[in-house]
Every structure is written in structure tokens, then in C-alpha cells.
Amino acid sequence: MTTRPTVSGSGLTVRYGGSPALDNVSVRLQEGVTGLLGPNGAGKTTLLRVLATAVPPDRGAFTVLGHDPGTGAGRQEVRRRLGYLPQNPGFHPDFTAFAFVDYVAILKEFADRSARHREVRRVLDAVNLSEVRGKRIKRLSGGMRQRVALAAALLGDPGLLLLDEPTVGLDPEQRMQFREVIAEAGRHRTVLLSTHQTEDVAMLCQRVIVMAQGHVRFEGTPAELTARAAGRVWSSTERDPQARAGWRTGLGTFRNVGDPPQGADLLEPTLEDGYLLALDAQSVEAMSA
């Protein structure tokens, strides 16, 4: 049985001046967590902004939960069902965590004070910030601020949650806490999680989209992405010049990814190997520069 997709779009194109940030992208998202992987400048943020209705595409169309954001009324309906955590969520630093989420709740049309405050308490509980709700945001750690922004995105129990690199800049413990919250949030809704960390995808995502230079390079499950690297990862004592990417491991040998030479010592592929192979050579070079 196929369920109706939460997001369905095709031909999405956005140009910055002459060059395309998003070039003829098609996307289809269903319930669960989908990872959006790609290097800097791949177009991940632009795609999220388009889906969040912040930036209209220059070409192409899409629907969210059956609504067309190309019309004023459709855009309004999408926004009522949307949670969005931007790449650089800004804060009013003098607001407390509670006041800030309350402010976003007002923007999300929670006019009744009691109902709004109940909802603010609910989302702050969901991200485990109840204890610090009265603290000013400028006194919170980076990880806590990220969770305040996530709480704001969870207001109104949105059907679509768009998270733009939420784990960047967090320490491992904070990242783990954040992942727990995202995994919980993705149980009954559609989550699109932009990241350039394959660990996030391996731990959280049922599906993954790889982008580079404004194009979708891969779409499937993390296991399928890993499988693409089967037979294309090998070990050697020197970096193989034919490899798409290669690096010295802790064992002192080189791990090479690409098209192996005859008789190469093949290794078990990982999600990261599959990701590197999904990118074009130029993107891999830019990542290693």
C-alpha cells in the first residue's frame, strides 16, 4: 500500500543571479525521517527554504500535505502545518526560553493566552528544557539554544518538520540528546533533516537524499546508499591516485574509495563511502580542500 506523500515536488529551480542554487530538483517525502546530505553549497538550505515557503522557486511546483504553496491561501495552510528550524536560528537574547517560544507561538496564530502557554510548556517538555524555561536565552549553551529553536518548530504538532543542520556546532553529548528528540519527533510525522554528517543519517533516517551543486545525486535508503560502495572501497599502503577519495586511517594504511585496481584488498563499505561515491569528483575535491 502506498501512502500519499507529505511533500511532492518536481522541476524545482532557484537561481542566485545567473547560477542555479537548485536545478530541476524533484522531491517526494513521506512519514519518517529523511536525511538530506551534501557538502556546503550543495543547495540543501535552498531546498529547505523552498519547502518551508520562505523562498518561492523560480521554476517548478510542489505540494505539502495536499496544499499548493504557490497560492496565498495554500501557502497559509502549509505554514499552519509546518515546523521549520533554519540553519542559523536567530533569537531575541533578552527573551527567556519560554518567552521566545511564546513569541513564535504568537506568530503561529496561538491567540488564546492559556492555550498558548500550555502548548509552549508541552514543546519545552518535549525537548527536555522545562528546567531552564525561565532562563534568558543569552545564558543558555549552544545546544540548549538549538533545542529552544526546535521547541519553537514543534509548536502546533506540525505534519512536516524541516531541520537545517541542527546538529552542527554541538558537542557529542548534545548531539546525542538532539538526535533522541528528532527520532521521537519523526515517529508520527515527516521530518527532513539537512546535515553533512553521515552519522546523523545512519542513526536517524529511514531514507536519504544526496545533493551536490544544486542536483539530487541519490535518493533511497541508507542501506542502498551504503550498498553502492560495495566492491569500491579498498585498502592500500599508499593513497591510490585513481581513487575518488582516499585518506590515511588510524592503522596507518590508506582507505580508498572509487574504482579499485585489479586484486585490490576490498573493505566493507560504510554509509560515508556510499555518500562520497554519490557526489561528483568536483564536490569531493571541494570537501577535501
Partner: protein, 290 residues
Amino acid sequence: MRDTGHDGTGWHADTDDLRAYARGELEAPRLWSVDTHLLACAPCRLALAEATDSRALDLGWERLDAELDAPRPGVFEALLMRCGVADHTARLLAATPVLRASWLGAVLLVLLMTVISVYTVHSPSLFLALAPLLPLAGVALSYGPALDPTYEMALVAPLHGFRLLMIRTVAVLVASLGLNGLASLALPGYGLRALAWLLPALALTATGLALTARLGQVTAPALVSGAWIALLAAAAATGHKTLPPFTGVGQGVAALVAVIAAVLLHRLRDRFDTASAPSLPTDLAHRSVA
């Protein structure tokens, strides 16, 4: 108010108020007052229990619990609420970047220096030229990706971008025109002439906003400011004692420009509901959460 055993608070909540409170029908600011009082006054809590049925009482406690939980609003927000502004509007205004003591203080200082200059050179021209630019600058700085840290979150919220812009514009105009008005009061010798900045201020602000929809948040106000200064420079070259924009005809033209710009702004209102891709930071930007 009941007048017996007030438990150190100095007063008791009225029985009718307690009944309305329990039914959830008591309105602010009386609601806040009773909320706060119930925390301190045991007799009133008992009176609340007697005044209502158990379901309503549960709702009352739930509301009281919520009040205890919610942090107190800041000084500016509390002041707005005392002036009768609804709490959600007060919160939206408290998040307006330029409605800060630092901005308002800077505007006041500029006006003070301008008023002093009027007394020094015995002409209000500098004041009349500068005063219309202050509301334009204030409004330009109150909305948009450059200065509003939550711009992107606000942009994708169901509240229409134009409505948020208008709420903030009205608040900034009230503050800015109020300060200009105070400065005018310091120039009693010039009579109504000291108010000749008002219509140009409205014209420049409305034109700046209307052009922002097409030219962006920086170019539009900069262009309007430049045009105003160029116009005044040209007017000064005519050698008239009263610069033409501040004569009766000039004021009429300013009013007309303000109306035309307001109509144009309204027609372009949907442009404030989304952003152009280049106006937002790119995904190449360095990430900072500190």
C-alpha cells in the same frame, strides 16, 4: 472588595470577580491582579472554592498554575500591556529590533542636538529636514533579514508578513513621531511651522516601504533618503526663506505622495510574505550558535 481578614495583602478579591475568574471569564488586567493576589491570600483561595463548582475550580487552578509557570514580561512589554495593548501584540512589539532604549535614546539625542542648532542659527530648516528621516530609518530597521534575528522563522509563520510589518511600523511611527512631536514643542516660537516635518515623514516612510517591496530593505530607504536630501538641496538653491517642501503647496504634495505610496504598498503587500533567495544568508555562510 471584601473587607475582612485580608491575610496581609491589604485587600480581598471581590466575590463576583472570583466567580468570573473560576468561569474563565475575568478579563485582563483584573485577571492578572486576581491571579497574583490568590497566590498570597489563603482566605481568597477558600472563597474561590466556595464560589464555584469543582470543574470550574480545577480550571481556575490550572490557569493559576500556568500563570505561575509563565515568566514575567519585560519592562517594555509590561508597559505596553498596562497601556491596554493585548499581550500577544505586546510580545510582537517587544521583539521589534528598534524599539529599544538604545535606538530611542539615540533618536532623542539627535533631536536634542537639532533643536539646539535651531536656536543657534535661528532657523528650523535643519530640524524640518532631519525629522522626517528618523521615522523612515526606524521603520526600515524594524523588519527584515539584516536586523531581525528571527526574520526567517517569522517569514514562514502563518501570520502574514505584511501584518507583522504593519504592527511594527505603527509602533515605530508612534514612538518616532512622538519624539519628533516633543522636539516640536521645544520650538514654540515657530508655531505650526515646527510641525511641517509630519507630512514629509509619512510620505518618506510610506514611499520607503513601498519601494522596499521591489528594491529591498537597504536600497529603498537609502534611495528615498538620498532623494529627500537632493530635493532639499535643490530647494535651498532657490533662495526662499521657507523651503518649498515646508510651504502649504509642499505639504499638499507630501500628503499626496503619502497616499499614493500607501496605496502602492497595500497592492504590493504579498511581496512581504516571502523573500527573494539572495536576500537570505547563503548555505555557505559560517555556522554559529554561540
